[in-house]
Symmetry: C4
Subunit: 228 residues, 4 copies
């Protein structure tokens, strides 16, 4: 609608060949990813269903309802756990994208595959909520977050190989330390999966411990400092 917004200025020769509008492809990929994260984190609550009124005999609602809500406690714990795990994934995604300078088709598909793992999380969350005592629920949950962690490593490896999509000055030791942080997750998740057959609460503890580790200020941030 604005003349200048659509027609390239005549006095901008280099620019004339690139009459781009709006944000860069990288910024749009980032915004798209942010959208997926925001939606996933907000959808989690939809997996917790209000107790069906028809399942409670009339006249006993006042006594029954509090117990019914209390029975949902595994759901609530799964909700809080998943909320913070998705939140951590978002922060990690963020920190990686802060170091990325370019994008290409392959990077977009790797990012999409990562987002697919993130978008899958509401399913195992609901599964844990419904079947908190079943190791298989932990297995599905653990495999989902493991898959996402492996995708993050692949994304990082692809982007940093020969400094493909990052700054040419990004120091190699930093690249390695970031990868090291990322590689921590899969073995711990896999251990949590295996230990679910011993005691599911040990699994939960492992998930939570890794969570706390990643949430401590200054992990990737501190490493990222030099380039910021």
């Amino acid at each position: 609608m604005m003349p200048t917004a659509s027609t390239p200025a005549p006095a901008a020769p280099a620019h004339a060949a690139h009459p781009a509008h709006g944000p860069s492809p990288l910024a749009r990929t980032e915004a798209f990813s942010d959208g997926v994260f925001a939606i996933v984190i907000t959808l989690l609550i939809l997996e917790i269903k209000v107790p069906d009124p028809h399942s409670i005999p009339a006249g006993q609602v006042a006594q029954e309802l509090p117990h019914r809500l209390w029975e949902l406690k595994a759901m609530f714990i799964a909700y809080v756990l998943s909320f913070f795990i998705v939140g951590t994934f978002w922060v990690a995604h963020h920190n990686v994208f802060k170091l990325i300078r370019r994008t290409d088709r392959m990077f977009m598909w790797l990012n999409l595959a990562l987002l697919m793992c993130v978008a899958f999380i509401p399913f195992p969350t609901a599964l844990i909520g419904e079947y908190v005592n079943q190791p298989i629920a932990i297995v599905v949950y653990g495999l989902t977050v493991t898959a996402r962690s492996i995708m993050l490593v692949l994304l990082w490896n692809y982007a940093t190989a020969n400094h493909r999509l990052v700054d040419s000055e990004l120091p190699e030791p930093l690249i390695k330390r970031v990868r090291g942080q990322m590689l921590l997750a899969p073995p711990i998740y896999l251990a949590a999966i295996a230990l679910a057959y011993v005691n599911i609460w040990i699994s939960f503890l492992l998930f939570a411990a890794l969570q706390v580790h990643y949430m401590r200020p200054g992990q990737i941030d501190r490493h990222a400092k030099p380039v910021h």
Copy 2:
């Protein structure tokens, strides 16, 4: 985008070599939060289910359906109430972020915890809609909004302690007045929870009254004026 938003120390000339793309971490946190608010406020309607056609005997739909819809009236009231409460939370979040100039890892987690409370609201909304006469429904609803209000206070305290994340010129009396407005909510919500066991309509009235108070133009805005 502005130097003050991304550089913590004034003596950070390395920043010039920082080919950042896209918005600042603070702007992205804000956009992410806005996304969560927009999704929560729009998901609320999903909790209201259309009456099941199979539950109405054939041939009686024309007479039955209006009654069935009328029975949903508690749902509709809960919907409108929650819509405006989430709207108010969004405005409050907004007003706080207008005064924030920097971000750090701790701030992001506090903000995420606040968003978790907001994202939880569809559950107690559905609960009130299904069990409007049950005090326990009000209790769950009240605890959710209380938790969110306490998170907002914690967020504000963290950001303003020693002017950690706000302008160094932000006047102390303003910081205190904003906190004062925030501290108003928890006791009123808790009173509404307690009074639910006397009469749930008194509770609703308290929620609505606080709502109107916060919606009046010029509460936090007016206080915020000096820095705008």
Copy 3:
């Protein structure tokens, strides 16, 4: 982003001391509204449920399923209708915001009330889909879009009274013509509601006719031209 968008008065040197980050409050309100529109328009599909496999006798699925899908045709029509109605609402919201230059607390609440009507649309859409022959379904649908149309008029009246939130040079005749276009909808919607008790297809025809009228290029756009 431009000074004129955030400072009402030209003589506001205090603005220099305003280290604002990110977009202006108006831009954020607009982005928030866009988010709500995008979510509503995408949620509509969730109201169409896949036929329950358990409701079809084993061995008859191949013959039964096509019929079951065909029975959903009212749902599909309601889906398409609502998709374009929400789309039109988005365009109209857009066109109004293009003329808005400032925002205030009251404007935000009016906008929120308008968004509440928009966010409500999935419910009557599902209702029409399930009870296509019931005039009451048309009534609920019609009242929802009428409420949204009235909110749009209120929003416009509030913003343009004494050129409160629009350009001082915005010509009065243009303001009136835009309002005229907006005032067209409520009586037509109300007529569609009344006629639902005669024949619901006349109602649909009226909704669709208004739709086509608003979708024609150059309605509000053409009027808006002078200021662009």
Copy 4:
């Protein structure tokens, strides 16, 4: 954001009186579309339901649950397929919008119709998941993606006819090659639909093959290179 995008041409003095706020209509249409894509891709998981605990006899959950999850395998395949198809649609939409320079009302409606097809995808995805052996499920799925592909061709034809909404220097051969890539999809989708009545796995293979073709780096990108 780039100077040329926001600063009025010197030969457009009337423009100076236009204190526009926020992004251009084209950027907002793009952001709105991105929102719809992000929501659709994230909603897909909601179609996969956790096995109902009440449907499993108490005491048999440990043995039963893994089988129940295994029975969902068609759902998971449909999920992955749809995730990547929607992802590809997003990338294609993106690549088209990179070449668009202006927008008008007709373009917005065509884009909205395209988004409607995209937003519809969760329904046939759930259908395939529930009725993986039924050709009719493939038919509905295939028709949805065919409709979206035809809308993309219409959008492109409309935008490029007489260089209506694209750069006047955009070379005609490029326009044709992009259209050629787009025209590839409908016949293949229609073949997949027809072959569903022979063997549904041939259909899946065709969908996947087209998917891989479009996902290879350098399809539309390479064509688009000259203008970037």
